[in-house]
Amino acid sequence: MAERFEHLRAALGQVQGYIYPNEIELHWGLLVVLYPYITGLVAGAFILASLAKVFRVQEVVPTYRLALLTALSFLLVAPLPLLAHLGRPERSFEIFLTPHFKSAMAMFGFVYAWYLMLVLLLEIWFEYRADLVRWSQKERGLRRIVHWVLSLGSRSLAPEAIAFDKKAVYAITLVGIPSAFLLHGYVGFIFGSVKANPWWSSVLMPIVFLFSAIVSGIAMVLLLYYLTTLLRRRELDMKCLDKLASFLLYALIVDLSLETLDFIHRLYESEESIKILATLIFSKLFMSLTIVQILIGTIAPLLLLAGARFSSLPPELKRVAYFIAALLVQVGIFSTRWNVVIGGQLFSKSLRGLTAYKLELGGIEGLFTALALLVLPFVILFVLLKILPPWPEARADAEIGPPAPATTTSVGPGHETAKDATVV
């Protein structure tokens, strides 16, 4: 505890202007920045998956199963930063026992459980069921047992069963889209409904959160598809990448428009808080907002994507541009979360002062914990990819069953087919 007092004493020296005495301790730190970032990835990856199943965008079908598994890996990690952040994590079950329905945060238990159980796990189960049956029939040893358990003993490969699986997947995805919106939207509402904080309090907050989520989710699946395909030494489906890049571009444009709208609206209304918020943006948040979030995280990938997508560059160059853009987007969306969560606590509710946030390296709220929590989903994904491989070749091993969607090899440089021309 003495260490914490030392930090707070140091923070006192960094205060500019006046803050309420209790505000010296910044309560929602890096762990709370992580949570919306992670659930954003979940929601975004799921929306991408729904593009394949519900909106029948054929080009992105190769990423469908990967997107589902990505969503699952991140969803499993999502409660961990929250749990680590609680003052009394051993009492966290109270949110399930006596949820206070007037509080947006009480939704967490239900939205999370609903989304995890009913949407994601169910959908994955139905999508993989036929393969699980086949795998457990053909394999031996541990893999066979694991797949048999996962299939819950289901045996049927009859056409009716397969058709039911498809219908179930469609229905679940349909329900899953608003569920994904809710999963991440409620986090936006948690911030947007705090009337005490003029930086957070905004009708647009859930919408902005959602679109940032879609952007980061699509970018993450793009990155993972790129990396896993290269690691498996397969050909990248250029049409798929182009489509992903298109959707990423559109989502980025909407995201940027929403953020710009919020900015213009604040300036125009010029409420009481505008002075301290302007000071905040131009001093404490200048680097993370103007430089990292806007320039590096939004404008640069937007230009890269638009430029690469609609140019006549060779595919090898295009996809490198997509990759870099997707990476920049991750940085941008993370800094968006940072600017919302930390930014909202850097100024005083007296509207007369600014304080500072000191990021620790170690400790439960430290950088190392955050990095570990960021790496963990990839570890889980690695395991999932081994158990439930989404690759077409894993399905192609099956003797019976519908043909896997054809992996089109990338066409030669500068060669545009009629099909490509219609894909926008």
Partner: protein, 253 residues
């Protein structure tokens, strides 16, 4: 209280008789303890509020000290259930606000400043709102408004998510470092339910803090509400605070 005055008068009269005086002096404290346990406290009969007369505050900080001593609030200058702010308003419109360690050791002297038009002290504390945003956002029901209008924290149920601390527009809450749960002013609930005054009201030497019932007829608070023009902090947020300020300057946030 009428009973005490009578007791004091009686003591005075019997002072000539040392034995009687000694006896009665010993009975005094016993009598007050007995009186306190006579009536069982019924929360439904009470509804508390506080008044602050800003023109009377001398910024001595005795209230901040008394609060920390009475309630065992951590002594470090990062945790306050109540604090004092000093405002200095200059001719050009510039306002300086400070609260060194919450005002617990009063304030350091400042140089005479010809530009200062108005300067004063403002005590702050939890406003025990009637429409409390902190209660609204608690995900588990660990903070609540009691039947007698006092907003309390159940520190055996709080999970330490700190949403209430974010939701309070007045900066009245903090996280107790010893229990990792939210904490704040309780209007000295353990005192007022026994007919005593909150420690800060007890401590104030000038009567700047006034405590009382909002619904009964005669109380110092009722009188203040009749005689002064009252304001509350951040009325536009519609939290319906129950701490009423008189002579509050418009620059106070």
């Amino acid at each position: 209280m009428p009973e005490d005055t009578t007791r004091r008068e009686m003591l005075g009269r019997f002072a000539q008789f040392p034995c009687a005086a000694m006896l009665l002096a010993c009975c005094g404290p016993l009598a007050s303890i007995a009186g306190a346990t006579e009536r069982k406290y019924n929360a439904k009969d009470h509804y508390y509020g506080m008044g602050i007369q800003v023109d009377r505050c001398i910024g001595c900080g005795r209230c901040v000290e008394a609060c920390k001593a009475e309630n065992g609030v951590p002594r470090q200058p990062f945790y306050f259930r109540t604090w004092i702010e000093r405002y200095q308003i200059r001719a050009g419109g510039e306002v300086t606000v400070d609260s060194p360690e919450g005002g617990i050791n009063s304030f350091p002297a400042t140089e005479e400043d010809k530009d200062v038009l108005r300067s004063f002290f403002v005590p702050k504390l939890c406003n025990h709102c009637d429409n409390p945003p902190c209660v609204q956002v608690c995900p588990v029901g660990a903070t609540f408004k009691s039947q007698d209008g006092v907003v309390l924290v159940d520190k055996d149920y709080c999970i330490g998510c700190r949403y209430c601390i974010q939701a309070c527009p007045y900066g009245a809450r903090y996280l107790d470092p010893r229990t990792a749960t939210a904490d704040k002013c309780t209007f000295c609930y353990h005192r007022i339910t026994k007919g005593l005054l909150p420690a800060c009201v007890e401590a104030c030497p000038t009567g700047a803090r006034v405590f009382g019932e909002l619904k009964t007829l005669a109380s110092p608070l009722r009188r203040m509400m009749r005689m002064s023009k009252l304001t509350v902090l951040k009325p536009s947020l519609n939290t319906e605070p129950k701490v009423f300020y008189s002579d509050l300057d418009g620059e106070v946030r």
